[in-house]
Symmetry: C2
Subunit: 235 residues, 2 copies
DNA sequence: TGTACATCAGTGAACGCGCGTTCACTGATGTAC
DNA sequence: TGTACATCAGTGAACGCGCGTTCACTGATGTAC
């Protein structure tokens, strides 16, 4: 697995080959079948591993921020976000394995779903905790009429998130109990917005879309993330 | 080229093969070298083609909106954005070729840079035109202190954008002249934010990151884009 | 303590596959006088 | 109108490559009595 991880880091998921992995550990290619069912199986393991690594990074940063300054939601949000970016920039191929183009011919099995939500949940927990503590003060939103089906979906999503948070509470939410469906549909919308923006920005940085335009990536990310916090109502 | 485009649409860039393209048009594999220098050359052409298609889509939508309601910046922004999303959703593999994981072993030559900016320029032109017409009314921003190097970069970028707009003016800016460096550093920051968010959201939709969470993609995109317009100050 | 056997990690050869690229070639189409 | 030649599009065979996967195997390590 370590060799596979190294190879992934070097050539990316699309170029990953069982034979090359075997070569690197000085094994004959058929020997890796002792440890792995197939190439797809190897990919799945790498995906789960990467999701877990990213998720743990986010959770640790979030918990550390709580330990430092309980109730300082803004700083907790910012450092969780920076932890996510840091890990992504340090592991670009793993990031792309998770959020980039799908690997041709590979279909992700169900096992990858749960670990895939960890980082996102760590982020949303910051918002939910602030909301639960009555500290969420979003600026008055622009008046945009949402179509009913979308509103319905956001409400449902708020519920899903609420129970997901509740079921994993205690792992790092040392401060307060997750209080049920604390998020409004509007908060969920803004969170979705923030989430896609964060990952969009990180993705652009990694795939170098911003070449010739931006070099101060970390500062730009920081400013972006603080703007998002403001929109969410984190103080 | 048409066959190559079809094949790209089917299997994606990483799975694209000269031999398969040749097969589809009923040619022997060596015959395609009459038309293309190498596989990389074919990829480059496809990239340029895709950038141009996306760019033209955006430019047309923008121009059409101006023709319908001159000065209605918000609607112009919204329909340009929707045109970009529409094209992307309809051409997922081409989108991923441009904005997804880099194809292993391929390095984009310089020729792809200019067409790569068309869609972005179409978007930024909407903002610049509104600013030039004195119609840009952004809400008071959250007070976030930008580090000096970032501010410097944003100012430079504003200048670059200004001259890029000026040099391509007239092509679709039928309404008004692009008035020099109309954008403030702050407007550039918010635009970058909007840009990454739009493409982040589209990318997530295409790679299906939002599975099980959102199905009302178009409505979500619309709401997002309108929020962004509000932040930019478009009315 | 010693023997008999099962488990296990890894070997090496082979399979069939599709790929990008080269090269000398054929035959049709166009051009010059 | 007819001949001579150049250009051009496409052929077919071959190259060397790396891939995922299978299969029968070897030899070391562990376990039972």
């Amino acid at each position: 697995m370590a060799a596979a991880r190294r190879q992934l880091a070097e050539v990316g998921a699309a170029g990953l080959s069982l034979r090359e992995v075997a070569r690197e550990i000085g094994m004959v290619s058929s020997a890796v079948y002792r440890y792995v069912d197939s190439r797809d199986d190897l990919l799945t393991r790498l995906i789960v591993e990467a999701y877990d690594a990213l998720g743990e990074t986010a959770e640790r940063a979030s918990a550390a921020a709580v330990a430092r300054h309980p109730g300082a939601d803004l700083e907790r949000w910012v450092s969780t976000a920076h932890a996510i970016r840091r890990w992504s920039i340090d592991h670009p191929h793993q990031y792309l394995l998770l959020f980039g183009s799908p690997v041709p011919g590979y279909v992700a099995p169900q096992d990858t779903v749960a670990p895939g939500t960890r980082a996102t949940l760590a982020l949303v927990r910051v918002v939910a905790d602030a909301a639960g503590g009555g500290r969420l003060m979003p600026p008055s939103p622009p008046d945009i009429v949402l179509p009913a089906p979308l509103t319905g979906e956001l409400v449902t999503l708020a519920g899903t998130v609420g129970s997901a948070l509740a079921s994993t509470a205690g792992s790092d939410a040392s401060e307060e109990l997750s209080a049920g469906p604390a998020l409004s549909a509007d908060a969920v919308l803004v969170f979705l917005t923030a989430w896609t923006q964060m990952f969009g920005l990180i993705g652009f940085e990694i795939t170098n879309q911003t070449r010739n335009m931006v070099s101060e990536h970390e500062a730009l990310f920081d400013a972006t993330v603080r703007r998002l916090a403001h929109q969410l109502g984190l103080r």
